[in-house]
Symmetry: C2
DNA sequence: CTGAAAGCGCTTACAG
DNA sequence: CTGAAAGCGCTTACAG
């Protein structure tokens, strides 16, 4: 029964490597200088014993909770699910634990609630997905609390907290161009909710693609939607009943794209043979419906992973340069993630 | 600046209450007998200092990881999301941390992978949502590892591991009866995938409702589906094109119900005025489409919470009676959760 | 670049 | 029913 074998401790590793615990600790935390040869010996010992640091002991000794929090505010279930999977796996692999809590920024006592939550759980850093990533109120409170935070897909990039996102305008450009490549020149567009910056970015991408290919932008081909199925349905009907209707429609969300397909079918336009349709998000509905929807996949899981990494990085270096978080971070390209065109069944050549 | 105040330790509580740390510890763990008066003093001190036990210290001292794991295998994003939120909040409130990992039971090395995962992370207990809750292989491995596990919505109840679920047959009965109450007597049924026990349970509920109301069960009103949109579409077309078509259709999943609506529209049957449709699950698509779908909501989040509670209960009492997990648990009613009929827009009186 | 000592805040035996 | 002592496995200063 090898089963009952006790798990190795740092002590064991030190003994096997012929060094002190301190050295082992330094190798693991990858911090202070350790001679290469010493490091190798320690690494070998860790390997041999299959040593796993005891996180509880580490937290206790360092007086740190190793706890980060992800707050969410009624987003779609699928969205939080992806977010949680990404944040959870990354925080675990980096030795942190994740607290998850819903937070309503519109209630009177957000401030009290938030402070209590942070103080009581000794939360060290925070991940803010949309729409919290744009809540001035929440951002202000966190700022005052002087606690590091990372935003996911924020609308504004003029805030000192770092963020991760994807290039929505470019994605919209790409999928529009895909339609153009298929021979479409009459392309309708259904806008998203005007309050979401995503709506503007997607429209911008659509416009840029048409301009690049010298296609006139027709006002009657642009319909206002609100991201919902219902609003998309009405917008699609408006497009489809035009005297000179488009041969393809780009809806700013998958719900609206699904509605567009229904509207088309109702008006005896087969998709994609008589009308091509594309969406945005790669929501569950995109692959549920039939024909399945050609759309843009947002890398939600990856964004959560990246955000978690950013946050933990900040946590680890924070002690050295206290006000680093105050200055706007260099928003490097690594934090703008790749989207993906999901080419499915709703697009045909014009 | 009260901000910088150090958080109270058990030492502080003991001093304020005029007892030893040991007594405070006992009060908190709610275990050994403590005189009521002593307990009250301690409680008051805890209250006054807003004392929060340090989980790291507890874990280190007790040599327990306080870690439980939730494994999942490619279910829908929305489903995992709900699951995670429920399991996470409950485990946190009970002082446990949650590890989340996907697990593919079909790979060759599940056993090795599972054992390594459990051993390395010192995982104390496991939550198994479907379809893992029915994987004989995974159950066997866990059994051999002698690690407590709790299953969510398993198909079989003949396994020693305890489980939580909802009464799917009763839910199907209720929603069918709802249709009958609205005056429908010609009710079509689209079955789910034959391999899922849920399919059988839902069919059983449908049948029982018709029988109760003395409505004949017509073979041509029963169509086989596979839970997918596409399969539902075909099944719905079959029903709708019958010489004597049903006035209402109960699809065993929301995806198939959504497909039924599309199929109806294609055949110029307005929903719900000419055809009523109900689904099962309350998946995102149910409220996304229009008209929004009348369906049954499964209490996924609550099931995850209950499962987590069950698991932690087992963990806490395990040391006393080692073989308790071996004997089939008394499956009490608390572990069968309430579903909810979501009455929306796809049902009209016949 | 490396190490010996002290201590983080609890719980586990063991006494009484 | 209550308490004094030891120790869980690390990291933080502090030396050298």
């Amino acid at each position: 029964m090898i089963q009952k074998m006790k798990t190795a401790t740092m002590q064991d590793v030190a003994k096997l490597a012929g060094v002190s615990m301190m050295t082992v600790s330094r190798v693991i935390s990858n911090e202070a200088k350790v001679r290469d040869k010493t490091r190798d010996k320690v690494m070998a010992a860790i390997e041999e014993l299959d040593y796993q640091p005891n996180l509880s002991a580490r937290s206790l000794a360092s007086a740190k909770s190793h706890l980060i929090a992800l707050f969410y505010q009624n987003p779609s279930e699928g969205y939080v699910g992806q977010l949680l999977i990404g944040a959870l796996s990354k925080s675990q692999s980096r030795g942190y634990n994740l607290v998850v809590s819903s937070l309503d920024e519109t209630t009177d006592d957000v401030e009290t609630a938030l402070k209590a939550l942070v103080r009581r759980n000794k939360i060290e850093g925070i991940i803010l997905p949309p729409p919290l990533s744009d809540s001035q109120r929440v951002l202000d409170i966190l700022m005052a609390l002087n606690i590091p935070a990372v935003r996911i897909s924020p609308q504004r990039d003029d805030h000192p907290f770092p963020f991760v996102c994807m290039d929505e305008a470019q994605a919209a450009f790409d999928i529009t161009e895909h339609l153009i490549t298929q021979g479409h020149r009459k392309i309708g567009f259904i806008q998203g909710h005007p309050d979401h910056s995503g709506s503007h970015l997607r429209y911008e991408g659509y416009k840029r693609a048409l301009e690049k290919h010298h296609i006139d932008i027709r006002d009657d081909y642009i319909q206002q939607g609100l991201f919902t199925y219902r609003s998309g349905f009405q917008a699609a009907v408006n497009l489809v009943t035009l005297a000179d209707p488009p041969t393809a429609i780009f809806a700013s969300s998958d719900d609206m794209a699904a509605a567009t397909i229904s509207a088309a079918q109702k008006h005896h336009l087969q998709v994609p043979s008589m009308l091509s349709v594309v969406g945005f998000d790669d929501a569950p509905i995109a692959s549920a419906i039939w024909p399945s929807l050609t759309t843009v996949r947002q890398p939600i899981l990856e964004m959560a992973e990246r955000a978690t990494d950013l946050l933990i990085d900040a946590l680890k270096k924070k002690p050295e340069t206290e006000q680093e978080m105050e200055t706007p971070p260099e928003q490097n390209l690594e934090n703008i993630l790749e989207y993906q065109l999901m080419l499915r069944e709703t697009v045909a050549a014009a």
